[in-house]
Symmetry: C2
Subunit: 209 residues, 2 copies
DNA sequence: CTGCCGATTTGCAACAGATGCAATTTTGCA
DNA sequence: TGCAAAATTGCATCTGTTGCAAATCGGCAG
């Protein structure tokens, strides 16, 4: 039908290379001089293209930071889509873990740079939140697919909570650093709370001071 | 100490009036022509000030949309801060309800306009998400205050889930409309799921198709 | 009432991101 | 090799945003 896996096409390959050139030039400059200190013109010059060309590859300056992350998330979504016989609960749990791993684990040369950048620059944080919303909608769609008759509120609430759990882990890592072990523990704990609810948090039942 | 309720000052009053003039002019124009179709110059002209003056009152075009909402949220935060002897769980529940009411209930002449605007325009949605993050941090701080020894992950996860629940309600309303009754039901259901966890959602335990 | 000081407003210029358009170059293929 | 489609580019333009300095306004001391 519209399958052509063995032929990216000569033209396509060049486009991909250009895209990659722009992206890595941008990330390098961001790391060196900072995000707002780097202009589109700078990036274009470093990637050896015309400034106008930048917008042929990325809709905005912010998007270039998320290029790789988006690719990874797309993979996760794909993998998540073909799920075998597991309970929806387990799928949700797995989606949380997978998405987080895709986002925070080190990939390529600028993984850490991207994370730091996104966490610090307000404009990029906003963009990240948009991505989160996208992920939430994806999870919700997945959920509706897994549980055909699920009430809308339930679907939205569950996906929202899943995202909340993810944000919890990210926020935690922002303060505590990215030690894989402690992140794993945080992740497990967060997923646990999501599953069993706030009632499972001891502190919430104690008397208020 | 620093109390002077009977004297806003003559000068201050004018500033407030100007601020209000800019805000309502902006909202009116947004409602009439749309958000990106309205320029800062238009707003300034309608409010009878110089374009440059706009930025003396609002840091950006987006912020003017949230001016009123921010005020209401500040009130909620204030009210929430002095909490009497109730269980932390109940405080969390109440904060979710209060924040949502402050955001979506009709206030002033342009309440509905603001909500519609924020939900549709990507730039404003991003800004709303930032506000959500702010609210999350506030809830987290409140929680730490209420439960001094609470583990960090728990605090972050709980506040994250609370936000997730709110987003669930907002998302629901976006599709189903703002009928107060159904919104209330949605809110209750969402809070319930947050409290008792995903395990309380029947559909999640059924076998996958 | 008047003049002064500080705060507010304003105009001007400049910069960066983003977009549309048309010209130009490159690329794939017949 | 030459043609048509696609990609790149340059150019003009618009909008949001900020810094700076001049102009203006407000309130208060004399």
């Amino acid at each position: 039908m519209d399958e052509e896996p063995a032929r990216p096409g000569l033209r396509e390959r060049k486009k991909l290379r250009t895209r990659q050139a722009i992206a890595s030039a941008a990330l390098r400059l961001f790391a060196e001089r900072g995000y707002e200190e780097t202009t589109i013109a700078d990036i274009a010059a470093a990637a050896d293209v015309a400034p106008r060309t930048f917008f042929g590859y990325f809709p905005s300056k912010e998007d270039v930071v998320f290029a790789e992350i988006d690719d990874r998330l797309a993979e996760v979504a794909e993998r998540l889509r073909r799920t075998s016989g597991e309970t929806p609960m387990e799928t949700i749990r797995r989606s949380i873990v997978d998405v987080l791993n895709a986002v925070v684990s080190e990939h390529g040369d600028y993984g850490a740079v991207q994370v730091a950048l996104i966490l610090e620059r307000p404009a990029l944080r906003a963009r990240a939140l948009q991505r989160m919303t996208g992920a939430q909608e994806a999870i919700e769609a997945l959920l509706r697919d897994l549980c055909p008759g699920i009430p809308e509120i339930d679907a939205v609430a569950v996906s929202g909570m899943a995202i909340g759990g993810m944000q919890a882990v990210v926020a935690h890592c922002r303060r505590e650093g990215y030690d894989p072990v402690s992140m794993r523990a945080a992740l497990d704990r967060a997923v646990d709370i999501v599953e069993h609810g706030l009632v499972s948090v001891d502190a919430l039942s104690s008397p208020s001071p």
